[in-house]
């Protein structure tokens, strides 16, 4: 077990570092001279060279990459924003909790609504409940998130004036972004859950359970769901990462000061250190999330669990029984 976890952890670290290298390299080749971006089009050649030297971008690519990696992962220094003159790392620390909370609440809402919807559809296969869920899911999945967000603003903020449309300050600021962020996810999760449960509904061991005289409700909760929901778990994980990706647009629309808005503002002003920082943070977050999903997968699925408990099996088993 420990070995598996360590292995998976190493993989995660590798992915994060590789993502950092990738983003640095890509940004290095983005057309446009950073010094010109900072100083504007009318800067003199001498000033430009000066700024280039200050930023260290007159050094060879590999040296730059090396010092970037060293600063980021050893000194936890992601540089200073070119335009705000504040530490990127500090900016991140301030914004990450907000974005995380937003994404987390969205995914909780998504799962709480989507999974029961899917289960309900599958257990009433081809009846009206099923058709209703399928239609809703289809509509939810097709609605562009940012459009829903704008409609919510029009309706709740401008017409009814009950919820704020931008900024941060009270819990009310979270309501609309969470709602609009969850909508598309609900459709997707409901559909996925439905198909996972349907796959299990016809399984032989469900008939076996019924043949034992198990009540229908228990058949669903004890036999169908544990098997059907294992793959759903991964789906929730990937939905979470999609949610975080989606926050870039969502935070822009709601002027919600999280990592997403930080990033889109940085893109607009070409603030490279901030862009790099945001991408690395989001990549690290996603990689860690996938690690957690994988580990919990092992925990719920005995087939995978057994694979990494193998070494200690014999002793453990006898103890268990005794």
């Amino acid at each position: 077990m420990l070995r598996y976890v360590l292995q998976r952890l190493l993989m995660t670290i590798f992915v994060i570092i590789a993502a950092a290298i990738l983003i640095f390299t890509v940004m290095y080749f983005v057309p446009g001279d950073p010094a010109k971006i900072i100083l504007g089009p009318e800067a003199t050649a001498a000033d430009l060279a000066d700024v280039r030297h200050q930023l260290g971008i007159d050094r060879p690519f590999l040296v730059q990459l090396g010092s970037f990696m060293y600063n980021t992962f050893i000194k936890f220094d992601m540089g200073t924003s070119w335009f705000r003159n504040t530490s990127v790392f500090g900016g991140m620390l301030e914004r990450i909790p907000r974005t995380f909370l937003l994404g987390f609440l969205s995914i909780v809402l998504t799962s709480l609504v989507g999974i029961p919807m899917g289960v309900n559809a599958a257990t009433h296969h081809r009846k009206w409940q099923d058709k209703g869920v399928i239609s809703f899911a289809m509509v939810f999945m097709s609605v562009p998130e940012f459009w829903v967000a704008l409609l919510f603003i029009i309706f709740f903020s401008l017409r009814l004036n009950i919820l704020p449309s931008f900024g941060i300050g009270s819990w009310k600021n979270y309501v609309l972004p969470i709602l609009s962020g969850a909508l598309a996810g609900i459709g997707g999760i409901a559909r996925y859950t439905r198909s996972c449960v349907l796959e299990v509904v016809h399984a032989d061991y469900i008939t076996t359970a019924r043949a034992k005289g198990v009540m229908e409700r228990k058949v669903i909760y004890q036999h169908m769901l544990p098997n059907a929901l294992i793959p759903v778990l991964t789906n929730v994980g990937t939905s979470f990462t999609r949610c975080i990706g989606g926050t870039i647009v969502m935070e822009k629309i709601f002027s919600f000061p999280g990592v997403g808005l930080y990033l889109s503002d940085a893109i607009a002003s070409r603030d490279y250190p901030v862009i790099r920082g945001c991408v690395i943070v989001i990549a690290a977050f996603t990689a860690i999330l996938m690690l957690l999903v994988d580990l919990s997968y092992g925990y719920v699925d005995p087939r995978i669990k057994a694979q990494y408990v193998k070494q200690s099996t014999k002793k453990g088993k006898i103890k268990n029984v005794a």
Binding site: R126, Y205, G213, P226, N227, I230, D301
Partner: protein
């Protein structure tokens, strides 16, 4: 006749089951009747798709509906019609009075539940016992199918096919049912394991006095395990009787054909004689003798309804020209 009836554990009368698939009706079981005496074993023999499994599942009422629907008939277990029993009472019958063994042990066990818990689950449902007692009883059951106690907490994927089927048997017999429905219990297993599993089943059944309906297409297994035999073709019983009636005096051309297509019966001959053609399309409304399309003895008269004639006492044959096999 009357005195015999009292010994009947189960009688099925005129059972008709249909499936609806894409707007079409599939006639799976078309008026099947049979009796099973206490403690005896009935062999249901027939090709794939003849409706054997459907019969077993309708007895236990575990057919998925839709698409399946029992159109008519009676299934009497000790006088009570199971088709009329309320669902909550049926829950007490399933697993306690009647239980079932399924064809494929690979898929019949819940992959995320330990085998011990799967056996104990049924025990707790039907006996008023604590979790600990149920566990003990389940361990006893495991041992009686020759699986070590230590494996109680293991999951199905850690077992071989033969062992899984023994677990399924332990599960099915855990509550000492009166009737066991065994749906091709050995088809999915290696030949060497088959005998072992069948032995386990026979020993346990003898201990508990359980009656059994054994569904199979393997006449060899029927010969070794059954008291009476019913041969099914296209959802109808075409011939039924004691094992001797069927094996020594096969009269229906389909039964005869079945024996001819077996290597062991054809031992003296140079080659096997398969039955020509394929089973009829189950979407066709059953009419007359459904075997007439493949029957070497078929005549115009076969298109009319063929009565189920009693040849000798207890030996029935649904053919207008039954022929004693020489």
């Amino acid at each position: 006749m009357m005195s015999e009836k009292n010994d009947n554990l189960l009688s099925v009368r005129d059972l008709v089951v249909e499936y609806t698939s894409g707007g079409e009706i599939i006639h799976a079981v078309n008026g099947v009747s049979f009796e099973l005496e206490k403690g005896k074993t009935l062999g249901l023999v027939g090709e794939t798709g003849a409706g054997k499994t459907t019969i077993a599942k309708s007895i236990l009422r575990v057919l998925l509906s839709p698409p399946a629907k029992v159109k008519s008939g009676e299934i009497l277990l000790e006088g009570t019609d199971l088709l009329k029993v309320r669902e909550d009472e049926m829950l007490k019958i399933r697993g306690a009075k009647i239980s079932m063994i399924f064809q494929d042990p690979m898929t019949a066990l819940n992959p995320t539940m330990t085998i011990g818990n799967q056996i104990a689950e049924g025990i707790r449902l039907h006996n008023d016992v604590s979790a600990l007692e149920a566990e003990k009883m389940a361990i006893d059951m495991l041992q009686s199918v020759r699986i070590m106690e230590e494996r109680f907490h293991e999951y199905p994927f850690q077992f071989s096919g033969g062992m899984k089927q023994r677990v399924v048997i332990a599960m099915a017999l855990a509550c000492k049912p009166k009737l066991l429905l065994a749906d091709e219990p050995t088809t999915a297993l290696d030949v060497t394991i088959q005998a072992q599993v069948l032995d386990t089943m026979r020993d346990l059944r003898n201990q508990l006095g359980t009656s059994m309906i054994l569904i199979t297409h393997d006449l060899g297994i029927v010969a070794e395990n059954c008291d009476t035999v019913a041969v099914i073709y296209a959802g109808q019983i075409v011939e039924s009787g004691s094992k001797e009636d069927i094996f020594d005096h096969a009269s229906h051309p389909y039964t005869v054909g079945l024996f001819h297509s077996l290597p062991m019966w054809a031992m003296g001959e140079k080659r096997l004689h398969p039955i020509d053609g394929l089973p009829p399309d189950p979407r066709i409304e059953p009419n007359g003798c459904m075997f007439r399309f493949r029957c070497p003895r078929a005549t115009k008269a076969c298109e009319a309804t063929v009565p189920n004639a009693e040849l000798t006492s207890g030996h029935f044959c649904r053919c207008i020209a039954p022929k004693e096999e020489v």
